[in-house]
């Protein structure tokens, strides 16, 4: 105990700042490294890679402050080097996920993969910023200020990185899966033509019908995005299991647009039919950056200008 006290007293203010900043950075990365079973990385090696990069990001952010204080302005170039590294992270994620996607029974789709890759890059910058601020405060105001900054930044990063979800833009309701001749419908939304009685029976048994009604005109455009709909299907099958195999071409989960109203009919072929779990799965599908549009706002501005 005495040794530790001695360390903190004897240690240079800069050393304390760097250690504290790096530590906060790494903790931030750990907190942001959510790997539940529908997300990547789900495996120890994936985690190791991201934790190591988090450590590097944290160290760089924390080191920048004392370096700048010592008027070593070239330290800034290190940060750009880090940015280069993180872009590489994005490429790595994209390539891995794309390689895996071909063998998923229900693929994520390119839009979802891009979204995930961007988030992985972004998290590293968050780590770097967090450790930069903690380091800055502890150099300026001392150890306790640094600790306080760390304590406030940790929950803040989680809040900042929490994206919006499908539940924010759509009302979700169940609808019966029904057959009319060869046509399969969810509620009154036409899904597909299934020729064989045997397949229709299977779909009737395993199928869960959902209708997503957009809450406003912006939501309508977002839900219409094919990538967003594929993301919904992927998350549903990951969380509820999927009744599908290669060589069963008729068993395809689908999300179709009802063109007139912009509602989306979702046909999930799930193993889990518990209504609460199904609802929870759809509600929590993340909105993809690529899919989110705000045409209403854009049009309103355009009109004001022309008036």
């Amino acid at each position: 105990m005495n040794d530790w006290e001695g360390f903190w007293q004897a240690a240079d203010q800069d050393v304390i700042a760097v250690v504290l900043g790096t530590a906060v950075g790494v903790i931030t990365r750990v907190l942001l490294l959510r790997s539940d079973y529908r997300q990547y990385p789900a495996y120890p090696h994936g985690r190791l890679i991201h934790l190591s990069l988090g450590l590097i990001a944290g160290a760089l952010g924390a080191l920048a402050v004392p370096a700048l204080m010592a008027e070593e302005y070239t330290a800034i170039t290190f940060l750009s080097l880090a940015a280069q590294q993180f872009r590489e992270v994005r490429n790595m994620e994209r390539n891995t996920l794309r390689a895996i996607d071909g063998q998923e029974l229900v693929p994520r789709g390119d839009s979802y993969i891009e979204g995930i890759a961007v988030v992985f890059e972004g998290r590293n910058y968050v780590v770097m910023l967090a450790s930069f601020f903690v380091s800055l405060l502890s150099v300026w105001l001392g150890l306790w200020a640094g600790l306080a900054a760390g304590a406030t930044i940790l929950p803040a990063t989680r809040l900042l990185m929490r994206g919006r979800k499908v539940a924010d833009i759509a009302d979700i309701s169940f609808a019966p899966v029904r057959m009319d001749e060869a046509g399969v419908y969810v509620g009154d939304i036409y899904m597909m033509n299934v020729g064989l009685e045997a397949d229709r029976e299977l779909i009737g048994r395993a199928g869960i019908g959902l209708v997503l009604s957009p809450k406003n005109d912006d939501a309508r455009v977002t839900l219409a995005h094919a990538g967003q709909r594929q993301a919904i299907l992927y998350d549903l099958s990951a969380r509820l299991g999927v009744y599908r195999d290669e060589g069963e071409p008729a068993l395809v989960p689908m999300a179709k647009l009802e063109l007139g109203t912009g509602r989306v009919g979702v046909l999930a072929l799930a193993r889990e039919h518990d209504r609460d779990k199904v609802l929870d799965a759809v509600r929590n599908v993340p909105l993809l950056e690529a899919a989110v549009r705000h045409p209403v706002r854009a049009n309103r501005k355009g009109k004001e200008r022309s008036d």
Partner: protein
């Protein structure tokens, strides 16, 4: 876009033109069974068009 890989029908005279092979069945039940077998063999979903024909459609997305 889907591509017709094979056609199963009970009314030969209503199907013309070429591309895929046409399988002629003696009864609707036989047509259904033929289509089911072809669906599994070809890994192509069988869709019913009209009352008497099945088409097997290849929907493999184009390679990236």
């Amino acid at each position: 876009m889907g591509r017709i890989v094979a056609v199963v029908t009970v009314r030969r005279e209503e199907v013309a033109g070429g591309g895929g092979p046409v399988f002629v069945a003696g009864s609707p039940e036989e047509a259904e069974r033929l289509a089911l077998e072809l669906e599994k063999v070809l890994d192509c979903a069988a869709s019913r068009v009209g009352a008497h024909h099945f088409v097997l459609i290849d929907r493999t997305p184009p390679a990236r």
